[in-house]
């Protein structure tokens, strides 16, 4: 079932200009992401992994190259993401994508459950949110339960350990039933035992929810979980590094 390509990038390039110097970070990336797969991207620090995730996650625009995305339920049409308005791109980030960051990035002013509910607060207007509050909170609680920190639902993020925060961040990424979750070094800030738990959690979620994960990581063990693994060097993927594995 994970044969269908939901996201394809062709010839992605990204240049940064600081003062007069142009730094070419990505130099023609070709990439297909298939439904329900775990794809890992490895590479040295500063090679442009985060930059690539920003482009794929519609947080930034490429200097050149194309992005085509197949939304979950709009027929089977591919959408040329370059043509979308600012609002439509925000819409896709909100409903189709999830993000998990190395430093969790829970908002410290909100409780844990509110953090998980944030994508719904963005999706709905005030009236609609209020009307559906019970249902949404049940869903958020369910996700917190799945990631194993339901008991902390009303805690402030500051009261949690790093592993617990990352679990909450994963629950947040999943609230709006995304098709694709981008994780930028999700275990980069965790000890190995906690990292292991996060790995298992991602594997588990991928199986039960049929969500695709793109994992940018330094962590060899995390990279080995993936169905496919891409090595990035000098702004391109090194072809021989792509290793297609069967599902673990």
């Amino acid at each position: 079932m994970h044969e269908q390509v939901i996201y394809s990038a062709r010839g992605l390039a990204k240049e940064y200009q600081s003062n007069r110097i142009v730094i070419s970070v990505l130099k023609g990336i070709d990439l297909d992401i298939r439904r329900g797969e775990i794809l890992s991207i490895v590479g040295h620090s500063g090679v442009g992994k985060s930059t690539l995730l920003n482009l794929l996650g519609l947080l930034d625009t490429p200097t050149s190259g194309t992005l085509h995305y197949r939304p979950r339920n709009v027929g089977n049409d591919q959408v040329d993401l370059a043509r979308l308005s600012l609002k439509a791109r925000a819409r896709i980030r909100n409903q189709e994508f999830g993000f998990v960051f190395q430093f969790y990035h829970l908002l410290p002013d909100l409780s844990l459950i509110e953090n998980v509910l944030l994508p719904a607060m963005i999706l709905h207007g005030r009236a609609a949110y209020r009307a559906r509050r019970k249902e949404l909170e049940a869903k958020a609680s369910d996700l917190l339960d799945r990631v194993g920190i339901l008991a902390r639902r009303d805690f402030s993020p500051n009261q949690l350990s790093g592993g617990e925060r990352q679990r909450a961040a994963i629950a947040r990424a999943l609230l709006n039933d995304p098709q694709l979750v981008f994780c930028d070094e999700p275990t980069g800030n965790l000890d190995s035992v906690t990292g292991e738990r996060i790995h298992n959690l991602i594997l588990d979620l991928q199986k039960t929810l049929n969500v695709s994960f793109v994992l940018v990581t330094h962590d060899e063990r995390l990279a080995r979980l993936a169905h496919r693994r891409l090595l990035m060097q000098d702004g391109v993927f090194v072809p021989q590094a792509e290793s297609i594995r069967s599902r673990p």
Binding site: S50, N54, L59, Q102, L118, M121, I122
Partner: protein, 497 residues
């Protein structure tokens, strides 16, 4: 799966206001900025309300002392043929009443000689042209407050002036009570009848009455400050001396003096007036000053006070009076009370707006507080913005969080300021009395401001003037950080610690 339908995005997503409120509540700096708005609004409103009240009370006291219109001659004591003139004046429409008067500087003896203003009035007619019926105390009213007056002035040597001047509160409550009617003509005339003078002497100064025998001196009604400051007492016989205006011969022969009996008191609330003015019957004063003019075979007066029915048309009436009087007596001048005291009102009004302008300048400090506080929030929350963008917020939505933040802060601060200002104004006099009792300071000295309570007037225009600067400043102070926020690079912030 409903979440994936292509519905249009909500106009006001839930997170904007929600986060805005969270940011506001969790920060001390936002409370400080809010309080500075509150404080600014409250101060502006209090100041405007006091100035407004001051102008109104000043206008009322002035109008109470000065009649609507006054007719003067070219020199003091030069208005003769008073009966004919009054008849002419009363023929003009809108004129309600007329009363002749004489005013002169005098000295009274109370230990040493002190200056005073001797005001000769026609009691019955004066009631028609001035507010005298509202501020002269009826005999029984005076009896009621006399113990308090005596207590107030008790230990007032020269050293304790502030205490001697402290207001006698129950006089105000009597004079300003809703159902007090102004004195009837008969009531005011009675003060000047010898029987009444004898009665006062009988009750308050029997020994002197016995010494005087059958004839009692003429009566005077004095400003209440004479009694409070213990320069005089009820039933006292005071000597008052002045100078006859027109007499040949050396100065010392022009001196005229008389004994009078203090039979009553009044309180206008204008400290200066109440501590210097003494009312005497005009018929007595004109003889004392020897104002009979043989040439015209009539008495000469200082002038004629005129009251009108419709005060708004007072300037028209003045023109009509001039048209009718000047042909027969070109030396007369017709003056409205605003001519006499109007520049005081204008000065106070200008002062009100100068102070307002200064306060608004100070308010820009508040604007800076709001600006700084929002800039801090933006700096602190840049990463939150990156997260929100990643989770699907639009850049404009993120900017709106800060805009709402600023506007909420400013409007809540403004409302609070109005509330606090209002309460402060309501209780300003108790607060002032309390400050006085604790520190001995009088922030609003009655002798300077011509009134002994701090007056307050709430005017809707002042509300606007109070809330416009903070709202305006607050709006711009919110816009700048909000747009600055939109120019920062929140995406960079989310990939770093």
């Amino acid at each position: 799966m409903a979440a994936h339908s292509r519905s249009s995005p909500p106009l006001f997503p839930y997170y904007e206001l929600h986060l805005s409120l969270k940011y506001l509540r969790s920060r001390f700096s936002s409370i400080a900025a809010l309080l500075s708005v509150t404080f600014g609004v409250a101060v502006i409103w209090i100041v405007l309300s006091i100035m407004g009240g001051y102008i109104i009370v000043l206008r009322e006291t002035i109008r109470g002392q000065e009649s609507h219109l006054t007719i003067y001659g070219s020199a003091p004591f030069s208005v003769a043929h008073i009966l004919q003139l009054e008849e002419l004046i009363r023929s003009v429409k809108n004129v309600r009443g007329t009363a002749p008067f004489i005013e002169t500087l005098a000295m009274y003896k109370s230990g040493q000689l002190n200056p005073c203003q001797l005001r000769g009035i026609h009691p019955r007619r004066e009631l028609e042209v001035s507010e005298i019926g509202r501020y002269v105390l009826r005999p029984e009213e005076l009896e009621r407050v006399l113990p308090e007056i005596e207590a107030t002035g008790k230990d007032s040597g020269d050293g304790d002036k502030a205490k001697a001047r402290s207001p006698v509160v129950s006089i105000d409550s009597i004079l300003r009570s809703e159902n007090r009617k102004p004195l009837e003509p008969g009531e005011l005339e009675r003060f000047f009848e010898p029987e009444f003078t004898a009665k006062i002497l009988q009750e308050h100064n029997p020994r002197t009455l016995r010494a005087l025998g059958n004839t009692v001196p003429p009566a005077v009604i004095v400003g209440v400050q004479f009694l409070i400051e213990r320069k005089m007492f009820l039933g006292q016989v005071v000597e008052i001396g002045t100078v006859k205006p027109e007499q040949q011969g050396p100065m010392e022969q022009r001196f005229a003096h008389e004994s009078f009996v203090v039979v009553g008191a009044f309180k206008t609330g204008d400290y200066d007036f109440d501590s210097r003015s003494i009312f005497v019957h005009v018929d007595f004063l004109k003889n004392m000053l020897e104002l009979f003019d043989a040439r015209s075979n009539s008495y000469r007066y200082e002038g004629i006070r005129v009251s009108v029915d419709d005060f708004d048309r007072v300037n028209d009436t003045r023109k009509e009076l001039e048209a009718i009087l000047l042909p027969v007596a070109p030396w007369l001048r017709v003056i409205t009370w605003e001519d006499l005291k109007g520049n005081i009102l204008t000065a106070v009004l200008i002062e009100k707006f100068v102070i307002y302008f200064l306060l608004v300048l100070l308010m820009s400090f508040t604007g800076c507080m709001v600006l700084l506080m929002l800039l801090l929030t933006v700096i602190e929350k840049t990463r939150d913005m990156g997260v929100l963008l990643a989770l699907g917020a639009t850049p404009s939505g993120v900017v709106r969080i800060f805009l709402i933040n600023g506007l909420l802060l400013v409007s809540v601060g403004t409302l609070l300021g109005l509330g606090i200002g209002y309460l402060f104004c309501l209780y300003i006099n108790p607060i002032h009395d309390w400050i006085h009792s604790v520190t001995g300071l009088r922030l609003f000295p009655p002798e300077i401001y011509h009134m002994d309570r701090i007056p307050i007037s709430f005017q809707s225009g002042d509300v606007l003037l109070s809330i416009a600067p903070p709202l305006f400043l607050g709006f711009f102070s919110s816009l700048i950080p909000a747009f600055w926020a939109s120019r920062r690079d929140p995406i960079k912030a989310i990939h770093h610690a």
